[in-house]
């Protein structure tokens, strides 16, 4: 697989502040890469650098094998979709789609056929003669995607395209973007702070923090084998439970509880002794009949219940620490009740207490 976008040793600083540091990233042809992180982590900045909207301080950016580090955004073979849609408000939808093409002096017939195709793909044909003010948020974002589509480029950049939409529309349009990617097979780089978007859309996710990529991997890897405590905490909702303790003789000790680690796949091969944090996802805790099979079991008292419909989140204490358990939405439990929970250490993550790296 050839690389569509290659980022080599990218640096960016504003004055003394380093926003991106020695960043390397290779994105394959047709890949859907999501840059995920909390605000201020540099994900949008990185996207703007790829688009050429920000000048880099060092390093190189290659798109389709060409060094475009200093090329104008329009010459890079990219299309971009923005959070605020950024449509030209006084032009019709058709005008919005054609403005860039007309400016590039494309023949009229070609402009028309491209607009026709984009409108078909995005189902905005009935809207072509309308102005953006007369469109809903979802329709506007569709037009904005159309504007990237008519450019007939290989690389699509999305800068939090769904953040301005309400929850239901966001879910709908998310599916549509995924479908679009399947049918177009373009390279897509997508910035978001929404982990659901990242998990559902991405071929690979790059988790960013402080201008660096913490972990780059498939959604499964990121979810199942987070490289450090930050990633583990960031991915998953409700977030992971953490307990601090010690590994001794192949078991994790916290308070007077001992969690056996025979089935845990240590990164170094064998168990490591020392101060450790164990991370257990609320959805990996079992209750009811399944508890019998779990290598580690403990009795807890329920202190709070959050029903969400599909699931019921139960708050309790394990070794004196807050601990959340995700139960089936049908479970009938009440506050103060005793509950037996089971944990499979193979599904857990262990992190060194100091370095916070995965063991």
């Amino acid at each position: 697989m050839t690389n569509s976008v290659e980022i080599k040793n990218l640096d960016l600083q504003f004055g003394a502040i380093k926003v991106l540091q020695d960043l390397n990233l290779e994105i394959g042809k047709g890949e859907f890469l999501v840059l995920l992180g909390s605000s201020g982590c540099g994900k949008s900045t990185l996207l703007n650098c790829i688009a050429g909207l920000l000048d880099v301080s060092g390093g190189q950016i290659h798109i389709n094998g060409t060094n475009v580090t200093w090329a104008e955004p329009s010459e890079r073979g990219i299309g971009m979709v923005f959070q605020s849609y950024a449509l030209y408000p006084q032009m019709t939808v058709e005008g919005n789609l054609s403005f860039g093409l007309k400016n590039a002096k494309l023949p009229k017939s070609q402009i028309e056929s491209r607009i026709k195709r984009a409108a078909e793909v995005l189902q905005i044909e009935p809207l072509l003669k309308r102005k953006p003010a007369a469109l809903s948020g979802g329709q506007r974002q569709r037009v904005a995607i159309g504007r990237a589509l008519v450019r007939d480029v290989d690389v699509f950049l999305f800068d939090e395209p769904l953040s301005n939409l309400d929850a239901k529309l966001r879910a709908d349009l998310r599916v549509e973007i995924k479908r679009l990617h399947h049918s177009l097979q373009n390279t897509m780089i997508y910035v978001t702070h929404d982990q659901i978007e990242a998990m559902t859309l991405a071929d690979r996710i790059a988790i960013m923090r402080g201008g660096q990529i913490m972990q780059l991997g498939s959604p499964d890897e990121i979810y199942g084998r987070p490289v450090n405590k930050y990633v583990a905490d960031f991915i998953g909702s409700p977030s992971m439970n953490f307990l601090e303790g010690k590994i001794n003789e192949g078991a994790f000790h916290v308070g007077d509880l001992v969690i056996p680690l025979e089935r845990y796949a240590f990164a170094g091969g064998g168990p490591v002794n020392g101060d450790t944090t164990i991370g257990i996802r609320p959805e990996h805790v079992v209750t009811g009949e399944l508890v019998g099979n779990a290598p580690f079991q403990v009795d807890v008292e329920i202190s709070l219940i959050e029903p969400t419909g599909s699931d019921t989140l139960v708050d309790c204490k394990v070794a004196g620490k807050h601990f959340r358990v995700r139960m089936d939405g049908q479970s009938r439990v009440s506050v103060g009740e005793k509950l037996r929970i089971g944990i499979n250490p193979a599904m857990a993550s262990l992190f060194d207490l100091k370095s916070e790296l995965r063991l």
Binding site: N48, L53, P73, Q83, Y88, G100, N103, A144, R151
Partner: protein, 297 residues
């Protein structure tokens, strides 16, 4: 709870009561004063208003007076040039200032500063600057260009442009600040989108940004046009209407007739003509601007 809908007249009572003095003042002073002026423009009032009807005599005399014709002509020249130039200069300054430059606040203050001066000060300052004896002409001749001539205020043909320079100096800052606020209100993503589309900057300004700034342009237009129509103090301070009557303007004509020539009827006719001129511009515009609002929702 009351079972019937309360009388709409008594909703927000305190706000309505508070607004009454202003409503009365506005009706009495503006509407009443305007009506009174129009009525008396059909009389032969001299030093004091008298209801001695003379029909359209005052208007016939007005349009036969050379000073009035020159006033109108000057207002037209000054108005059109001012309107176009102040927008062009103000917008270009704002666009330059919008490039994330250093010392933006300082530069903005310096350019806006003239607006804080009264027209009398501006008029006097530019009277001196344009004076051939010790102004620009003298300085350039001092550099060795002995034949250099720049004395607009002493040449009846172009004297009004001397006024225009002073007016631009004073007015550009305000337009710039308003335009800058408008530019800052444009979503940065629109600029980015235009760059990705490969639209050159000037085209982005012309076809995307300026149309998006329509509300700011309208506000600015109203401010600039009212400033033009009521121009008076700048003329008095800078040229006193001279040389001869080369820089007379309608507002000054009204003032001169009212307080110097003791000819109220003539002054009222002139001010009514000014009102008609403004109405001819404002009414069609108001129809275009607000008339279609029901359709647009």
């Amino acid at each position: 709870m009351a079972s019937t809908r309360p009388n709409q007249l008594f909703r927000n009572k305190s706000a309505k009561i508070a607004a009454i003095p202003m409503i009365v003042t506005a009706l009495f002073v503006f509407v009443g004063g305007t009506a009174w002026t129009i009525v008396y423009s059909f009389t032969g009032s001299g030093l004091l208003p008298r209801l001695k009807w003379v029909g359209l005599d005052q208007y016939e005399r007005l349009w036969d007076t050379r000073k009035w014709m020159i006033s109108i002509e000057n207002l037209a020249i000054y108005g059109f040039s001012m309107l176009i130039l102040v927008f062009v200069i103000g917008f270009i300054l704002a666009a330059l200032l919008d490039q994330k430059i250093r010392f933006e606040n300082t530069i903005r203050t310096v350019i806006l500063y003239p607006y804080a001066l009264s027209f009398v000060v501006t008029g006097l300052v530019w009277q001196w600057i344009l004076n051939p004896e010790f102004g620009v002409q003298n300085i350039v001749r001092g550099w060795g260009w002995e034949t250099f001539t720049f004395d607009p205020l002493y040449n009846a043909e172009i004297a009004i442009f001397g006024i225009l320079i002073a007016g631009l100096w004073q007015g550009s800052g305000l337009v710039m600040v308003l335009m800058l606020a408008g530019l800052r209100g444009i979503d940065q993503d629109v600029w980015k989108a235009a760059r990705v589309d490969g639209i050159p900057s000037w085209k982005t300004y012309l076809f995307i940004v300026i149309p998006m700034m329509r509300p700011v342009f309208i506000t600015t237009l109203v401010l600039v046009v009212t400033g033009i129509v009521k121009i008076y103090d700048l003329i008095v301070a800078q040229t006193g209407g001279g040389p001869g009557i080369a820089t007379e303007v309608p507002a000054k004509y009204v003032y001169d007739m009212m307080f110097q020539a003791n000819n109220l009827g003539q002054a009222f006719a002139a001010s009514t003509m000014m009102l008609v001129t403004v109405a001819l511009v404002v009414i069609p515009w108001a129809f275009l601007e607000f008339g279609g609002s029901k359709n647009r929702g």
